[in-house]
Subunit: 157 residues, 2 copies
DNA sequence: CTTTGCATTTACAGATCTCTGAACGCTGAG
DNA sequence: CTCAGCGTTCAGAGATCTGTAAATGCAAAG
C-alpha cells in the first residue's frame, strides 16, 4: 500500500523530469531535481540519489553542480556525517521564476541594441519596439506578481 | 555606414540566438528566428535565410517546422512567387509567453498528482502544496498580465 | 503534359553531449 | 600520522542530436 503510493510518486517524479528534459533541462539534472522534490524525506544523500535513480556518483555530482546555482536545491550541513545532504529549497519555485527575469532583461536589452543600430522607423523599428516594450513591461510586473503570491501564501498559512 | 549598422544588427541577432540556444532552444532554430526578427525586410525567403546564415535548405526547412507551431513565425502567401516567404509574427512575444502557461499547468498538475499519492501532510505534503499553490496562482495571473500589456500597448499606439 | 524551381524528406556523417568507471583529493576519525 | 569514507574530476565510450547532400515530391508555368 505504502509501496504502491511510493511507486506512483516515483512515476510522477520521472514523468515531470521527462517533461522538463523536453523543455531543455539536462535529463539527469531534471531527474535529480524531481527525486528531491517528490521525496518523502526532508533531505537525501548523494548515495541515496545514486541508488534511487540508478546513476553513478559522478552523474549526481554533476547534476547537483548545476542545480545549486539556480537555487532549486541546497546542500545541507550534516553534523555527524561526512555525507552531503541535499534538499529541495524552500520557495524554490518563486526563485526559479525570478531567475527567469534575467532572461527578460536579456530580451529587452537585445531589442534595445537593435533599435540603436536600426532606429525606430520601418518594419524593423516597430518590430523591435514592440519587443522592447513587452519585455520591459514583464520585467517590471513579474517580480511584483511573485511578491503578491508570497504575501498571499504567507498570510494564508 | 548602412553596412556598418547591418553588421551590428547581424551580430545582435547571432548573440541573441546563442543565448536562446543556451536556454535550450535548437541552435539553428534560434538563428532562423533571430534572423527574421532582426531583418530590415518584412519577410524573408528560405533562400535568403540559407545565404544569410550559411546553412542548407534542409536545415531551414527543419527550423521553420519547429518555429511555426510555436507561433513565433508564419508563412506568408507569396502571390506570383513559388518561394515561401516567412515573417516574424505580430505579437509573437505575447504568444510565446502565453504558451509558457502550458508549462505552468503541467507543473501544477504534477504537484496535484503527488499530493493525491502522498497526502497533504508531512514534509512532502507541504512541499507539493506550495508548488501547486504557486503554479495555480501564476496560471491565473499571467494571462491577465499579458492582456494588460496588450491594452496598454494598443491604446498608446 | 512536360518542364522547371522550389520545398521537403531521408540516409548518413560528423559533432556534441553525457554518463560511467577509475583515479584523485579532501576531511575527519582513530 | 595513517586510514577510511566520501565527493569530485577526468578520460573515454556510447548515445544522441543535427546538419548536409541527394533523392523525392509538389505545384505553377509554358
Amino acid at each position: 500500500m505504502a509501496d504502491d503510493k511510493d511507486t506512483r510518486l516515483r512515476e510522477a517524479a520521472e514523468k515531470l523530469a521527462l517533461t522538463l528534459a523536453q523543455g531543455g533541462m539536462q535529463k539527469t539534472t531534471a531527474r535529480v531535481m524531481t527525486a528531491l522534490l517528490f521525496s518523502r524525506q526532508e533531505t537525501m544523500t548523494a548515495g541515496e540519489l545514486c541508488e534511487e535513480l540508478q546513476i553513478s556518483s559522478g552523474a549526481v555530482s554533476g547534476a547537483v553542480k548545476q542545480l545549486i546555482p539556480t537555487g532549486m536545491i541546497e546542500r545541507v550541513p550534516a553534523p555527524g556525517s561526512r555525507r552531503d545532504h541535499y534538499r529541495f529549497r524552500e520557495h524554490a519555485w518563486a526563485t526559479l521564476m525570478s531567475n527567469q527575469n534575467a532572461m527578460l532583461t536579456v530580451m529587452k536589452d537585445s531589442a534595445a541594441e537593435g533599435i540603436e543600430a536600426a532606429g525606430q522607423d520601418g518594419v524593423l523599428g516597430s518590430r523591435l519596439h514592440e519587443m522592447r516594450d513587452f519585455y520591459a513591461y514583464m520585467e517590471r510586473q513579474l517580480p511584483a506578481l511573485i511578491d503578491q503570491w508570497r504575501e498571499q501564501y504567507d498570510s494564508a498559512g
